[in-house]
């Protein structure tokens, strides 16, 4: 665990949000909504909770591993990786452009440090993370595996195949999180395909489930992560229901699915950036 104060983490979060919006704006494509909603969780993981090495090694032995299943929040992950020194922040300016390592959805193909699996086609990341977690056990590696999924993604069948498997095989070195913002492309999840009681469902599948009710409150996120960590190694996989607000941090983007996959205009970007302090210097 890295020694960073909550205040510092909040400042980093502000800069990461600026990065996300500037990246998406520059190419007028991408997914700002969920990226803004997940910012605190990513910053908490990469700047405090996880033991990881920015001199990237695919096998990641002896370090915590991170997998992103809902790959469309790529801008957020790229910003957090760059701000951790995996690659230069200047490279963020190549996001979604031709000949870039920063593909629209994360990929290993171009050799971007930090990414261990391609994601974007939904539902696949949990399986991959569970496989990696089982190998950690085979390798007598006591570090953890983290994976983030979307809530809309819970509609994919493979998620439940993986959920059943992890509990059956006692994969207790994994912390999965669901970005529980209640939104998906076509509207609120309740309208599109109601997820009903996710907590009861995951518990019925044999997971330990905790909720972080305020997923955009850094203190709450850190507290939740500490609790989740304390539940690992006890025979059950651990799930965090991470309640976030899509578009958090920008008043006109918050709480609606409209900004799932839409880039801000010049004026909208200017308005949004005026709400987010530049703390580490724009790329």
């Amino acid at each position: 665990m890295q020694q960073v104060s909550i205040d510092q983490l909040q400042k980093i979060s502000s800069q990461v949000r600026r990065d996300c919006l500037r990246m998406v704006h520059a190419v007028q494509s991408g997914h700002p909504g969920a990226a803004l909603g997940l910012t605190e969780y990513f910053v908490a993981l990469f700047f405090k909770e996880m033991q990881h090495n920015n001199q990237f090694d695919m096998d990641g032995k002896g370090e915590d591993l991170f997998f992103l299943s809902n790959g469309h929040v790529s801008a957020l992950w790229y910003s957090v990786l760059a701000r951790n020194g995996y690659f230069s922040t200047e490279e963020l300016g190549t996001f979604r452009k031709i000949n870039s390592r920063l593909q629209g959805h994360p990929a290993t193909h171009e050799g971007l440090p930090g990414v261990r699996i391609a994601s974007g086609s939904l539902g696949q990341g949990l399986s991959v993370a569970i496989g990696a977690a089982q190998v950690k056990k085979l390798n007598q590696d006591d570090k953890l595996v983290y994976v983030v999924m979307g809530d809309g993604e819970q509609q994919e069948g493979q998620i439940w195949e993986a959920a059943m498997y992890a509990a059956h095989h006692h994969v207790d070195n994994i912390i999965a999180a669901i970005d529980y913002n209640g939104q998906q492309i076509d509207g609120p999840t309740k309208k599109v395909m109601d997820l009903k009681d996710l907590k009861a469902k995951w518990e019925a599948f044999g997971w330990e489930v905790i909720s972080i009710e305020k997923g955009n409150d850094m203190a709450a996120v850190l507290e939740g992560l500490a609790k989740a960590k304390s539940m690992t190694g006890k025979g059950k996989p651990v799930l965090i229901l991470l309640h976030t607000e899509m578009g958090y941090g920008v008043d006109f983007m918050v709480g609606t699915h409209k900004w799932h996959g839409v880039a801000p205009s010049d004026a909208e970007l200017e308005n949004a950036l005026s709400q987010l302090e530049e703390t580490l210097g724009d790329y």
């Binding site: 290993t108 699996i117 399986s127 569970i130 990696a132 089982q134 059956h168």
Partner: protein
């Protein structure tokens, strides 16, 4: 009929190719501690029981959840394992195409997708299980190696060769007992075609179970005064273009024989090589845009035009077009 022919390759024993996989996997497990096995509730059918028994910590029962199995396998490469997944060919490919595409091929993961009960020779279970499109789907994927061995010995050798091969691969084998006509402990070189029988009038490129049919066809053709060259294409991708072109340069025409749809199979790959480099008559022995049905392997190969007699007919047609 076979017994009266003067065959260039013969056999004393028949065995299923899936047993070659099972025995190869066990040996691979003993040779390399990083080899792990995953199976989707078909341990007996895939002959993975011996590996499971000897290496219980390195074997993962996945249940009837093939999509999850492919994802798990991709994840297990991270940390240095070499996962071999096992299920029927239908559930190894069509059912999980997107998982293979994104998590394995595009991510360039060292996963070995091992697929049994491919093709018509699955037999009585019928068309739901008789996949005839798998080679096409797999060969289209960038990074993917595609191997279709012809008998027990070659399947065992191919399985062992995959341990040292880095990158995603698809290994296709089958259910029926089949002649063992290639040598035990053979060296298996991925991507290298094997000229089994030298000939001068026509080349028969065959893969999988139909290599045996090609060996029989060669003897039948010889009786009619036609000299056929038989080349075993066990690796469909990467394809040994050099061997294909050298043979057709000599014989001037060819037959492609496979237990697969003509669309997208080995024959299509050979046609591309010939059209680009050395246009020559090419005849196809394969399933012609249709599903299979229940029946015995022998009945099905006959009904769908995939046995030695059909290869003979195709060879004569190819020769007549020169």
């Amino acid at each position: 009929m076979e017994k009266t022919l003067d065959l260039k390759f013969t056999y004393t024993e028949k065995k299923d190719t899936r047993s070659g996989f099972g025995d190869g996997l066990l040996e691979a497990g003993r040779k390399n501690p990083n080899v792990v096995g995953l199976c989707a509730d078909l341990i007996g059918s895939l002959k993975m029981g011996a590996f499971q028994k000897e290496f219980p910590d390195r074997f993962f029962q996945v249940g009837i959840a093939e999509a999850n199995m492919i994802g798990l396998a991709a994840g297990m490469t991270i940390g240095g394992k070499i996962p071999f997944t096992g299920t029927f060919a239908n559930f190894s490919t069509g059912r999980v195409y997107d998982q293979i595409r994104q998590s394995v091929a595009y991510s360039d993961k060292n996963v070995k997708i091992c697929a049994s009960h491919a093709g018509l020779t699955l037999g009585e279970d019928g068309a739901t299980h008789q996949i005839l499109e798998d080679v096409g789907m797999m060969k289209m994927l960038p990074h993917m190696t595609v191997i279709v061995p012809c008998d027990y010995n070659q399947t065992k050798a191919a399985t062992l060769a995959l341990v040292d091969h880095v990158g995603p691969a698809y290994l296709r084998f089958g259910r029926p007992v089949w002649p063992i006509f290639t040598p035990a402990n053979q060296k298996f070189e991925i991507g290298k075609a094997w000229k089994m029988i030298e000939g001068k009038d026509v080349t028969i490129f065959a893969t999988g179970h139909l290599v045996w049919e090609a060996v029989v066809a060669e003897a039948m053709l010889r009786e009619e005064g036609i000299s056929a060259e038989v080349i075993n294409i066990h690796t469909i991708k990467p394809l040994d273009e050099e061997a294909i072109l050298a043979s057709v340069a000599k014989t001037g025409c060819a037959v492609a024989a496979e237990e697969h749809q003509i669309n997208g199979g080995l024959g299509d790959s050979i046609a591309q090589v010939l059209v680009r480099n050395h246009p020559a008559p090419l005849e196809y022995v394969g399933v012609n845009d249709s599903f299979g049905e229940s029946g015995t392997p022998t009945q099905l190969l006959e009904k769908y035009g995939l046995n030695a007699a059909n290869i003979v007919k195709a060879a004569k047609q190819a020769v007549s077009r020169k």
